[in-house]
């Protein structure tokens, strides 16, 4: 008879292998939990999920792994599938079922845009009693995922679920949430047009959150000079003790934002999303001027908060940061002053043209701050034709923004 503790440890190990973060304390909790909830299948699954899964996004991996891992657990004597010798579950020889389950979970870890479809599956699988069956239903899935009309498919599933009751309803709306969160974490570098469209859809709630974040920051910066009169009045309540100090509200800050966004092929997605995100929060700044560039500067145009491509730019040109900086320098009188925060989005890949980092330094002297957002992976900074380290010396901050979440964080630093 297999030891329950070892069995559970192996399960946790595999869960970690599937990308779920599980701490030691949580593993202990899980042991207490099943000793409290018992070993019946459904309560045990929920007990493990409650203690091990702290993020609804991971629930999918969990259900899948549980279905395969404990496929034989209903009948404890049927132990033939699990070889007693395979102590370490990550070792390749850890038995057929386990390694297969890991593979299938990993397969799912790749950014699957149609998470709605994917999310509705695990329920079925969790319910299916034997491993082979669940393997079959996995087989059917890739077709669905490849379907271009993912939304239509989702609709079908929804209608089905309308008939089949509660559990599936739940899976769908958490699936939508999960899809949004997944796209937030997908690096821009891996975007295709499809991901970009999804990210655009997800932008509205992110912009809302961003606004909340910025407005909170502005509100917290309230404490200015001491307000003598109100402090004295407050002290009367306290018998004359000056325990409550009252402050005058600080004068509202003025930030003029000037944005330069590289929209050449390599960083097009991230730049567009950034411009649209800031366009949604423009009222927090006194003035926002948005520019797009490839090898020259052009004012960005928006239509209903969506960037539209300007005809002024040659889309097939190659990035030239140096020339763009000199164009900005020529227009400094109109654009740059002490209240200006200059935000540049780009990878600094200058196609070996003059970098003109000296110009950036001069520009930085005129502005309050220059912030460079870089959508590239850190390992690739400064490689090849990248002049990013030359620029990095001249800016106030170089902020990585590889996915939507990082971008949002980076932008809230600007404000």
């Amino acid at each position: 008879m297999t030891n329950l503790r070892d069995e559970l440890l192996r399960f946790v190990n595999q869960l970690r292998g599937a990308g779920v973060r599980v701490s030691i304390a949580e593993t202990l909790d899980a042991m207490h939990a099943i000793s409290a909830a018992g070993l019946e299948r459904a309560p045990m699954r929920e007990a493990l999920a409650t203690t091990l899964i702290k993020d609804e996004d991971d629930r999918h991996s969990f259900d899948e792994l549980f279905a395969t891992f404990f496929a034989g657990a209903r009948n404890p004597t049927d132990d033939g599938r699990r070889k007693p010798g395979s102590e370490s579950s990550i070792a390749p020889g850890a038995g057929r079922i386990e390694s297969e389950s890991i593979r299938s979970v990993r397969k799912d870890k790749k950014p699957a845009p149609s998470a709605v479809c994917a999310k509705t599956e695990p329920r079925e699988e969790a319910e299916s009693k034997s491993a082979p069956e669940s393997e079959e239903s996995r087989e059917g899935e890739p077709e669905r995922e490849d379907a271009t009309g993912a939304e239509d498919r989702a609709d079908d599933t929804r209608e089905e679920s309308n008939e089949s009751g509660q559990e599936r309803d739940g899976a769908i709306s958490s699936g939508q949430d999960a899809r949004r969160r997944k796209i937030e974490r997908t690096p821009f570098e891996r975007y295709s047009d499809k991901e970009f469209d999804e990210a655009r859809d997800a932008l509205a709630p992110i912009a809302r959150r961003f606004r909340v974040r910025v407005s909170r920051r502005l509100r917290m910066a309230k404490a200015g000079r001491l307000d003598f009169r109100r402090t004295i009045r407050a002290s009367i309540q306290r018998g004359g003790a000056l325990s409550d100090l009252r402050f005058r509200a600080r004068r509202p800050r003025h930030i003029d934002l000037v944005i330069l966004a590289d929209i050449s092929g390599s960083v097009r997605y991230s730049s567009t999303l950034m411009l649209e995100l800031i366009a949604g929060a423009g009222d927090f700044f006194r003035r926002v001027r948005s520019f797009v560039f490839i090898d020259r500067l052009a004012e960005a145009d928006f239509e209903q908060n969506h960037l539209i491509m300007t005809p002024a730019l040659d889309m097939y040109a190659r990035s030239d940061f140096g020339r763009v900086l000199s164009e900005l320098w020529e227009r400094r009188g109109a654009l740059l002053n002490r209240a200006t925060v200059l935000v540049i989005m780009g990878d600094g890949r200058n196609n070996r043209r003059p970098a003109r980092a000296d110009l950036l330094r001069e520009i930085g002297r005129l502005c309050r701050a220059v912030i460079w957002l870089i959508p590239e992976e850190r390992e690739r900074w400064g490689t090849g034709d990248s002049a990013i380290f030359q620029y990095a010396r001249e800016v106030s901050a170089l902020v990585p923004s590889r996915d939507l979440r990082e971008l949002e964080g980076a932008l809230s630093k600007v404000a």
Binding site: G38, N162, Q166, D169, G170, S173, D177, R216, G239
Partner: protein
């Protein structure tokens, strides 16, 4: 520990899953296995329960039901931006301290004697967290919408949630007499820290399915025709899938069901829906969107 030992242990624990299920039913709370197990574990393991899910899916209700089930007091801490220790844990009662100070001075007491009283429990204003810790019997502590509080406050909660103790500098460390049942809810306005998640059991509550919602409606709006209840529940389910700004909550479904009942509506046709939609949807855009599809949505539900 073998499988058999675990089963034996299960019998030894006196909070049983059946008891929890019966208790929930007794408190008129309709739910599913997931929620039942999570509640049971929170009680059995004495760990805080973190509940996430869309607004209006009944997260806060869990705490209320728990209090009812355990026949105990519910202490609620509503989180908001800028919530601090003084509001959440304790504050010294300055006015009372000052009065005491002045009274003692008149009697010519020395500072040593005065200060001895001044920082005693008598002058401590208990806020929800301290109240929950120092309650003589088990209470339910609801920390509502923890995602609205600042990150610093979340960090401050960690000591309370893992050890059920708080430290007041002047008094020392106060340990819980009876470990309270702690329920935290979050709408995911921001990501909660890993540290907090690690200390809690996690439960995701989604909107109920059509069948579950029908049962809720029938339980809370007793006089409603069964067929109408079924149709209403299905319609609300369909409405929630339209990607609205604010999908209707369970409470709004109930309000709507009551409205239908009061208006004496027998059948859920598109006229009936249009005239009562304001109860269900609170945004003009949502309303327009659903109104244009009202026929199709209710047709699908038939």
């Amino acid at each position: 520990m073998t499988w058999g030992d675990a089963l034996a242990m299960l019998v030894a624990v006196d909070i049983t899953q059946e008891a929890v299920r019966a208790g929930l039913r007794g408190a008129n709370y309709i739910t599913n296995e997931r929620v039942e197990t999570a509640i049971f574990l929170a009680l059995a393991l004495e760990k805080p329960l973190l509940i996430e899910g869309p607004a209006g899916s009944g997260k806060t209700e869990v705490a209320k039901v728990l209090a009812e089930m355990l026949q105990t007091q519910l202490i609620r801490l509503q989180c908001y931006e800028g919530l601090d220790e003084a509001r959440a844990l304790y504050e010294w009662n300055y006015q009372k301290q000052l009065l005491r100070l002045q009274a003692d001075e008149h009697q010519g007491m020395r500072w040593e004697d005065i200060s001895e009283h001044l920082f005693s429990r008598e002058y401590l204003l208990e806020r929800p967290l301290l109240k929950a810790i120092s309650a003589p019997r088990k209470v339910v502590l609801l920390i509502d919408e923890i995602d609205k509080a600042d990150e610093e406050f979340e960090a401050f909660l960690l000591e309370l949630l893992s050890d059920f103790q708080v430290t007041v500098p002047e008094l020392g460390t106060l340990r819980a007499i009876e470990i309270p049942v702690v329920v935290l809810t979050s709408n995911r306005a921001r990501e909660l820290s890993e540290a907090l998640r690690r200390r809690c059991l996690h439960l995701f509550i989604d909107f109920p399915g059509a069948e579950q919602e029908r049962r809720i409606v029938q339980l809370k709006v007793p006089g409603l025709d069964e067929r109408l209840a079924t149709e209403a529940a299905r319609f609300v389910g369909a409405v929630r899938r339209q990607g609205l700004k604010k999908p209707p909550s369970i409470a709004e479904t109930l309000d709507w069901a009551r409205a239908l009942q009061r208006l004496g509506i027998k059948e859920l046709n598109s006229d009936a829906i249009k005239s009562t939609l304001g109860v269900l949807l609170k945004h003009e855009d949502d309303r327009a969107k659903v109104e244009s599809k009202a026929g199709a949505l209710s047709g699908r539900s038939r």
